[in-house]
């Protein structure tokens, strides 16, 4: 314990923003599942002020508004995976939330914390990027919107300013019929901090042709991003005719092109290939299932 740590809790967003505006060395804590691990690792020697936002009710909503689904940053993983609107519109997010940590971790950990912690292996980030999510950042005097993919600027680094909070995550509704999938390989079975994961969101027409696709692996690159070469290779193709073996390889090559050879490459390259194959196979199955239902 150090003598220079302070703690402030608030249930009001305005109060939280004003507090951030007038104090320096403030560390925001929401569910605490990342912050508490860091505090422990630093032997609780953190100096500054912890600002607890976990009780701000207005940041815990999930709702549909115009063409968007809007998610409050304090929505927990448990709330995400139990939400029927989300399961209906964006099952890929539900699937990712279901794989996080354990029941206890899902009950505390939040979507805002998962995003701002910006772990390369964070499970919600690939599906959110694939869904073209945007984050709303608010301070007491400003408000801005940013695509999530730009908000995450590196491992454990985001574009947030000291005076800002994430106050909303918004995802555009997809008008066309689309398919999606989330896969993850963890090192441990029970508590798998994802070593590698992938989210796919694909608009596929009635001829089974891929019109638009987002393929976003997590922890393959320093921060999750779309694999554009891979996307280009499959766009315009009939999904049932894809050469999965080739595409798995291509994904591995694109990863190395983006990151260079690393100590983890010998593990990650085949793992990513396997995940790409697995997730595309799952989408193909779903497309074929739909085709049969129509006949």
């Amino acid at each position: 314990m150090m003598a220079n740590l302070d703690f402030k809790a608030t249930r009001s967003l305005q109060e939280a923003l004003d507090f951030l505006d007038t104090n320096s060395e403030v560390k925001v804590i929401a569910g605490g599942t990342d912050v508490m691990v860091n505090l422990y690792k630093e032997n609780y020697s953190y100096s500054g002020i912890l600002l607890d936002i976990s009780r701000i009710e207005e940041l815990k909503e999930i709702r549909q508004e115009e063409g968007w689904i809007k998610i409050g940053p304090l929505v927990t993983h448990t709330m995400l995976l139990k939400n029927e609107l989300l399961e209906d519109k964006f099952p890929v997010l539900t699937a990712a939330a279901r794989t996080i940590g354990s029941t206890q971790v899902r009950n505390r950990g939040t979507i805002g914390g998962n995003i701002n912690n910006a772990s390369p292996a964070a499970d919600l980030i690939p599906p959110l990027i694939a869904l073209k999510a945007e984050v709303k950042l608010q301070s007491s005097s400003s408000e801005r919107l940013m695509p999530l993919v730009d908000f995450i600027i590196g491992p454990y680094r985001t574009a947030i300013r000291e005076s800002e909070l994430i106050t909303e995550i918004k995802i555009p509704l997809i008008k066309e019929k689309y398919y999606s999938n989330f896969q993850k390989i963890g090192r441990r079975k029970t508590l798998a901090i994802a070593r590698i994961n992938i989210a796919i969101v694909a608009i596929i027409d009635e001829h089974k042709v891929i019109r638009d696709i987002k393929i976003v692996p997590g922890s393959a690159t320093p921060s999750p991003r779309a694999f554009n070469k891979l996307e280009e290779a499959v766009t315009g193709q009939e999904i049932t005719g894809l050469n999965l073996e080739e595409l798995g390889k291509l994904a591995g090559e694109e990863m190395v092109a983006l990151t260079g050879e690393r100590w983890s490459t010998p593990y990650k390259k085949p793992a990513l290939s396997a995940l790409v194959k697995r997730s595309l196979t799952a989408v193909i199955k779903e497309v074929e299932g739909d085709g049969e239902n129509q006949n």
């Binding site: 302070d6 809790a9 691990v37 009780r55 029941t103 206890q104 505390r108 029970t190």
Partner: protein, 159 residues
């Protein structure tokens, strides 16, 4: 380092406490309230030994600062027994030899209790999901799952 004044309902008793800024719910329960059934294993959310029920949800008390939970309700393993009668889960753990060294047991019981309070008749998968964050080095889980299943199947289990 200013102390924080909070109210807490623990095992159906009201407390007003002054806690440290970096005091975890785990510390408050074990050190201030002497509820040493709450165990500290890994301290980083991995083992579940510190599991308590916070406002109806199973949480790791090592991951919660007490200052965050002013006005909340907490249930620990000590609160499972009512009028010196064991909770059916506790009895089932004994009957099914689900306790060996016992270190994981309080956390395991609280995860199981949180599950049954919400879902009185869970299937095996739901039971596994509920306790996936509770590590047991001794039993291999089978007896624990059976103990929970036996309570989940009981007709007099509260709805």
């Amino acid at each position: 380092m200013e102390k924080i004044k909070i109210n807490l309902n623990v095992n159906r008793l009201e407390y007003t406490l002054e806690v440290e800024p970096d005091e975890r719910l785990l510390d408050t329960l074990r050190e201030r309230l002497k509820l040493t059934g709450v165990k500290e294993g890994c301290s980083i959310g991995e083992c579940g030994a510190c599991t308590v029920i916070l406002n109806g949800e199973a949480v790791n008390s090592c991951m919660v600062l007490t200052g965050q939970v002013d006005g909340s309700q907490v249930l620990t393993v000590e609160g499972l027994e009512v009028d010196s009668k064991l909770d059916p889960l506790q009895q089932a753990f004994i009957d099914h030899q689900a306790v060996q060294c016992g270190f994981c047991t309080p956390g395991m019981l609280m995860s199981a209790k949180a599950l049954l309070d919400k879902n009185p008749h869970p299937n095996r998968e739901e039971i596994k999901t509920a306790i996936e964050g509770n590590l047991c080095r001794c039993t291999g889980y089978e007896q624990i799952i059976e103990a929970i299943e036996s309570v989940a199947g009981r007709k007099d289990c509260k709805e």
